[in-house]
Amino acid sequence: MTKKNKEYKSIKPLAQYTYWERNKLSGGYLLKRQVTDVVVSICRFVLLFGMCFLILQPIFNKISVSFMTEQDLFNPIVINIPEHFTTENYKMASAIMEYPKALVNSLIISLTIALLQIAVCTLVGYGFARFNFPLKKFWFACVILVILIPPQTIASSLHLHFRFFDILGIFKMITGDTVNLRGSKLPYYLMSAGCMGLKNGLYIYMIRQFFRNIPEDMEEAAYVDGCGMLKTFLRIMLPESKPIVTSCFLFAFVWQWTDGFYSKMFLGSTKLVSTSLARLVDSLGTFIQRMTGIKTTVSIAYSNCILATGTLMIILPLIVLYLFAQRAFVESISSSGIKM
C-alpha cells in the first residue's frame, strides 16, 4: 500500500517539483541546456553589439566632430564631446556646397529619374516575366550583360555620343549639324527611359523575379473577362507588385542621390549634393581665401571636419527616409525570392 502510494507520488504535477529535482530527473540536461542558452545569447549579444558599433561608429564620430571648433580638433583631451560647441561648421559647409540650391536640385532630379527608371523597368520586368516571345532568352542575357558591364567601359564613347548627338542623321539633314547635348540633363533622362541608368539591369531582374512568383490565374481570369494586355497589367498586376516597385523606387532614389559617376558625366553643370560633396575639400581652400582675402593652407584636420559635416548634411535626408521606409527597403528583397 505504502509502496503504491509512493509510486503515485512520484508522478505528481511537474510544477510541484523544485528546479533542482527536475534537473536531477532529466539527468542534468535541464541545467546544461539553460547554461548553453545563456552563454550563446551572451556571445551573440557581444558579437552583434560589436558589429553594430563598427557600422555606426563612423556616423557617431562624424556627428561629434561636426560640432567641434578647429581648436577642439587639435586638443588631445577632446575626444568625443566638443569643448567649444559650435554650429559654424554647418554654416561653412552649407555655404560652400550651396546646400539649399543643391538639395532642391538633387531632390528634383533623383525623384524624376527614379520615377522614370522604375516605371520603365517595371514594364520591362513584367514583359520578361509573363510573355513568351522569340529570342526571349537572348534579350534576357542582354539584361544580365547590362548588369555586368561597368559603366566606365562605355563612358568615353557615351561622352562623344552625346557631344555629337543625332538620331539616324535626322538632325544633320535639317540643321546641317549634329546636336551638342553635353551639359544638358536630357541625355540622362533619355538613358533612363531606355533602362540604361544606374543599376537598372538589377531593378529589371528583381522586378521580373517578383512577377514570376505571382500565380498566373489572376491574369487569365482578366483575359477571359475581356481585359486587354495593358489594362490587365495596370489594373491587376501593378497593384500586386506594390512592395517590389516601392523598394526599387527607394533604391533608385537613394543610389541616384549619392551617385557620383553618372552625375559627374551627364549632370556636371547642375549643382547636386553628391558632386558638390566630392568637390568639397578642394573648394574649401579657395572659399576661405575668397572670404578673408588671405591665402591660407587649410589643415587636414579642419578640412576633414568640414567634410564630415558635409557628409552628414547629405545623408541626413537618407537617414530620415530610411527610418520611415526601413521595412520597404529590407522586406522586398526577401519577398522577391532572388534565385538563380
Binding site: I55, N61, V124, A155, L190, I300, Y322, V330, I333
Partner: protein, 303 residues
C-alpha cells in the same frame, strides 16, 4: 473546326508575343542605342588613337598599339590590375563568409532582431556612391587609427595573436591575408548589407520540419548546418557571389577604375582608356564566368 481552334491559339500566342515585345521595347531601344553602339565604338576606339579637333573627333587606326602600351609601357596598369583582382577574390570570399555568418545569427530568435537587421542594412544606403570614396581616403581617420595602433600595440589581443602566429611561422602568407581582412573588417561589413538579406531570405524558406527530423535522428546542430542549411541555400551562394564580385569591381574607389578615369579625363587619351577598360571588363567577365560555373556545379536545387 479543329483547324480553326489551332489558328486561334496561334493568334493568341502571336498577340502575346507582340505584347511581350512591346513591353520590353524600351529596353531593346535603350540597349541598342546606349549600350551596343557605345560598346562597339569603344571597342573600335581601343584600337585607335583618338584625335580631338575643335568640334570633331577622328579615330586613327593604330592596331594593337594601345594594348601593347598598357601592358608593356604603362608602369602602373598591370600592377593595379593584378592587385585589384587579387583583392577582389580575397574580399569577395570574406564578404560571403561574413554575410553568411551574420545571416545565421540573425536567423535566430532574440530581442531586437529587427533593429540589428536594420543597422546591418544601413551601409547599403549610406555608404554608396561618392560617400564610399570619401570614406576610404579620410586622412583624419587614418591618422587617428595609426595613432591608436601605435599606442595600443602591446595590449591589443589581435596584435598579440598576430605575433604568436607569425613567430610560429606556419603559412605566413595566408595569415597575412586573414590579418588584412580583420584589419579592414569595416570595409567587409559595409559591403555585405544586401548579401545578408539575400541569405536571410534563403534561410527563412527552409522548413523547420527538416531540422526537427534531423534533431530527432540525433543530428547535432553542426552537422545539420552542413547537411541541411548549406545544400538548401547553395543557390543563394551563387547569386551572392556574382553580386559581390560585380559590386566590388564597380566601386568608385576601385583603383583600376580611378586609373581609367584619370587617363580619360585628365590625359584625354580616349583610345588608351577604352583599351584599359575593355581589358578590365573582359577579365571580370571571364572570372565571373569561370567561378560561377564552378559554383553552379555544386548548387543543389531542392524543387
Amino acid at each position: 473546326m479543329k483547324k480553326k481552334r489551332k489558328n486561334k491559339l496561334e493568334g493568341l500566342q502571336k498577340r502575346k508575343a507582340i505584347a511581350g515585345y512591346l513591353f520590353i521595347s524600351p529596353f531593346i531601344i535603350g540597349f541598342l542605342v546606349f549600350m551596343v553602339k557605345p560598346l562597339f565604338q569603344s571597342l573600335y576606339m581601343s584600337f585607335c588613337e583618338v584625335e580631338l579637333g575643335s568640334g570633331t573627333f577622328n579615330p586613327v587606326w593604330t592596331g594593337t598599339e594601345n594594348l601593347l602600351y598598357i601592358f608593356r609601357v604603362d608602369p602602373e596598369y598591370t600592377r593595379l590590375l593584378t592587385e585589384e583582382m587579387g583583392r577582389m577574390m580575397v574580399y569577395s570570399l570574406a564578404i560571403i563568409v561574413f554575410s553568411f555568418f551574420v545571416a545565421l545569427i540573425l536567423n535566430q530568435e532574440f530581442k531586437g532582431r529587427a533593429l540589428v537587421r536594420a543597422i546591418f542594412f544601413l551601409p547599403v544606403i549610406l555608404a554608396s556612391g561618392v560617400i564610399l570614396g570619401l570614406e576610404t581616403d579620410n586622412q583624419l581617420m587614418a591618422t587617428l587609427a595609426q595613432q591608436i595602433e601605435d599606442t595600443t600595440s602591446n595590449i591589443s589581443i589581435t596584435d598579440a595573436l598576430e605575433n604568436i602566429l607569425r613567430t610560429a611561422g606556419i603559412g605566413t602568407r595566408a595569415f597575412e591575408q586573414v590579418f588584412e581582412i580583420i584589419d579592414n573588417i569595416y570595409d567587409v561589413a559595409i559591403a555585405s548589407g544586401i548579401q545578408i538579406i539575400i541569405f536571410l531570405s534563403g534561410l527563412q524558406t527552409i522548413s523547420s520540419s527538416m531540422y526537427e527530423a534531423a534533431d530527432i535522428e540525433g543530428c547535432t546542430k553542426w552537422e545539420s548546418l552542413w547537411k541541411i542549411t548549406f545544400p538548401m541555400i547553395s543557390s543563394m551562394f551563387l547569386v551572392n557571389w556574382i553580386y559581390t564580385v560585380i559590386d566590388f569591381c564597380m566601386r568608385s574607389d576601385n583603383e583600376v577604375i580611378e586609373k581609367i578615369q584619370e587617363v580619360m579625363i585628365d590625359q584625354m587619351r580616349y583610345g588608351r582608356a577604352s583599351a584599359m577598360s575593355w581589358v578590365y571588363f573582359l577579365l571580370i567577365l571571364a572570372f565571373i564566368g569561370v567561378s560561377s560555373f564552378l559554383i553552379s556545379k555544386r548548387v543543389y536545387y531542392y524543387d
